[in-house]
């Protein structure tokens, strides 16, 4: 029974994995669209690693620089910080990059990103053994007003920009 459920979980993870290695699965990657003159935007996704690992670097051909940031709200002030040591992926735990939390920051954009475009991202993941591997992700560009996932600080009605998946 136990074996069976583990197997089921493993195959579920395998199904949602998007060009991921055996270790790290990436679910629902997306990038927020930009307007023409805008030079930066955020990328969001869910990550899960089967063993302790860390995202140490991110790259994208559409951006001059890519950083991993954490957003926090302190006394109604929004603060963003680059994570100097990268993003921790504790074994088996889903780590969500979403509005209000972590995001990949695409900086010095070389072009505007339109809804429906696909943005290639490379995530460099380091395991406990210090071995690094690069995971290729294709992130869908969603509207400027998109929220992450089915829940967010959004209205219950159907806003034009609301995005379910």
């Amino acid at each position: 029974m136990k074996h069976l459920s583990r197997l089921a979980l493993a195959s579920a993870l395998a199904l949602v994995a998007l060009q991921a290695s055996a270790e790290v699965s990436i679910k629902d990657p997306w990038v927020r669209a930009t307007v023409t003159d805008q030079k930066a935007t955020g990328a969001f996704m869910q990550l899960q690693s089967s063993s302790d690992a860390r995202v140490v670097e991110a790259r994208s051909p559409v951006a001059g620089a890519v950083e991993i940031h954490e957003m926090t709200m302190v006394d109604n002030v929004m603060k963003m910080r680059a994570l100097p040591d990268g993003l921790d992926l504790p074994a088996g735990k889903s780590v969500e990059l979403k509005p209000g939390s972590y995001h990949v920051m695409l900086i010095d954009l070389k072009q505007g990103l339109k809804v429906g475009d696909t943005v290639p991202l490379s995530l460099v993941v380091e395991g406990k053994d210090k071995k690094r591997e690069t995971i290729e992700v294709k992130a869908e560009v969603r509207p400027l007003g998109a929220a992450s996932g089915p829940k967010g600080p959004m209205m219950h009605g159907d806003g034009e920009h609301k995005h379910h998946h």
Partner: protein, 213 residues
Amino acid sequence: MRTKPRHPPAGRRRLLAIGTAAGLAAAVPALLIGCERKAAAPSFHGINLTGVGYGRDFHLRDPDGKVRALADFRDKVVLIFFGFTQCPDVCPTALTRAQQVRQALGKDASRLQVIFVTVDPERDTAQLLRQYTTAFDPDFLGLRPEPAELPSVAEEFRVTYRKVPTGSSYTMDHTALSYLYDPKGRLRLAIRHDMPADQLAEDVLGLLGEPSN
């Protein structure tokens, strides 16, 4: 039929009375202010700012170069948010919520003016501001303080902003509250970032429906 007395037992009541008397002198001004604010806004979801002495007015350029002031929007509820266009998260979420509120208002949508003031005038050009705000809603207005004006604007509105270097660029820390003005141009409410759009819509309708307006 006897009901249980609601008052505290005599001993506790006495203590309470002593405590109240002692604290009264110091508490009276605060209590009065509290009551006034409460009376002015009995049922809003936002933080009541009625009567605070700040956020009185602005004189800032719109993307056409025209100087705009709060008086330009008399008879409308004005929502002001301070942010920057390279903001990946909080600013689009706040502006999307504002856009959803306008949709929810239906025919009253024209009575809500949404204003986005940049705290990053170095990167947010007039043209970029226009592209950005109108991508959410064609009626949203972007205002741009000159870099030299920004400190005094931020002080008047009690918003904080700070340029924070990241590895390859910089980001802005900034206040994530939205301010709501009543149709007479008085600052009334601060809206927290996590307030749902339907509650914000109720507050806007509450301000639009006040009897004196």
